[in-house]
């Protein structure tokens, strides 16, 4: 299977877009899960630090200069494909902080426990919402605290809603 066959990237595909170990050990940075050459460049156009390098061709895949990336997450809401995440591996001794884009209802609240989902939408852990950032373009950015070993697994959340049963 691969991202082209079923929308779920393989380990090899992910390897190509995973920030280097030494960078992750040092500071929060983006992980851009964009694998296809399509005409789209808002991530580069919106990065305030020039960390997502300007595109020579609008169909290029994003290239990140990790030196410049601060993990601010502005690109998360700019990405039309919701393919950008921020990983902070130094949140605590055992936990990482992940920022994920979110456009569903209901919006979680700070401190709330939600389901952490993997790239196939399967629940892998209960995770805590550390912050909810609403943006002007209505893509919210949810910061979640996850066990370090799940930082490369969890990419979405589900707010369990007793009323609607979802």
């Amino acid at each position: 299977m691969s991202v082209a066959l079923n929308g779920v990237p393989t380990k090899e595909e992910l390897k190509r877009v995973t920030p280097p170990e030494e960078v992750l050990a040092k500071k929060p940075v983006v992980m851009v899960e964009c694998f296809q050459n399509i005409p789209c460049d808002p991530c580069a156009a919106n990065c305030p630090f020039g960390a997502i390098l300007p595109f020579a061709d609008i169909n290029d895949l994003p290239l990140v200069d990790y030196e410049k990336c601060t993990g601010c997450g502005i690109c998360i809401a700019s990405c039309p494909g919701l393919a950008i995440f921020v990983l902070d591996m130094n949140y605590s001794a055992r936990e990482a902080l992940i920022k994920v884009p979110y456009e569903m209802m209901p919006l979680p609240k700070k401190g709330q426990m939600v389901s952490g989902l993997d790239r196939q939408g399967c629940k892998v852990a209960e995770v805590m919402v550390q912050k909810v950032t609403r943006t002007k373009n209505k893509t919210s950015i949810i910061s979640i605290v996850v066990p370090k070993e799940l930082a490369q697994i969890i990419r979405n959340i589900r707010v369990e809603d007793a009323v609607n049963g979802r």
Binding site: E103, M105, P106, K138, S140
Partner: protein
Amino acid sequence: MRIQEHPILHFKPGKKVSFIFEGKKMEGYLDEPIAAALVAAGIKVLSYSRKLKRPRGFFCAIGNCSSCLMKVNGIPNVRTCITRLEEGMIIERQC
């Protein structure tokens, strides 16, 4: 049924109006397409085909497919997906 809350959109429905569908009084919003008001009210069958009397529903929403043709205020073959709902309209299935 109607969407109550939405992460991106905010719906500002028009004035509530009532209309008659197959002799039954129903409610919808002014200026929405007749077919949308019917679907919201749980009505899926909008007409029956002429020959085999097969049920017909909404299909294209752009006035192109003729699946939603109904009799409105006595006029047959009204494209209800692109005709606005008005107060007191009399809407009937045609067959």
